[in-house]
């Protein structure tokens, strides 16, 4: 789970906080929350597709 958190945090930070300022805005926070949800969705789709191929 550590690798998953590292990877999703880096990708979502890049997408949602392009110019870091002195604090996280509520807009940036909402973007991070949605981005995490989408990363988990993507992980699940990829996982399901891969498992059905190798089984």
């Amino acid at each position: 789970a550590q690798a998953l958190m590292n990877s999703s945090t880096e990708r979502c930070f890049t997408k949602c906080v392009p110019s870091p300022s002195s604090s996280l805005s509520s807009y940036e926070q909402a973007c991070l929350s949605k981005c995490l949800d989408r990363y988990m969705d993507a992980f699940n789709v990829v996982s399901r597709t891969y498992m059905s191929r190798i089984s």
């Binding site: 990877s7 989408r38 969705d41 993507a42 992980f43 789709v45 597709t49 891969y50």
Partner: protein, 65 residues
């Protein structure tokens, strides 16, 4: 340990296909287009990988014959 390797592969495919398939601003739900792109991305990546391994084996067989 096989479990860890499996997790690492899924992680690797997720990162590869995330960059290819996901829109620049995260949407509220996963769209149909994003989902089918992710599925095709994993499937075609595995096809590509198999194709390249087969090529390599053909080459080795030619060299040793």
């Amino acid at each position: 340990q096989a479990q860890a390797k499996l997790q690492a592969s899924i992680q690797r495919f997720t990162d590869l296909c995330w960059d290819k398939c996901m829109s620049s601003k995260p949407s509220t739900t996963l769209s149909r287009a994003e989902e089918s792109c992710l599925t095709n991305c994993v499937e075609r990546f595995l096809d590509s990988s198999l194709h390249m391994v087969k090529e390599l084996e053909n080459k080795r067989a030619q060299l040793s014959s």
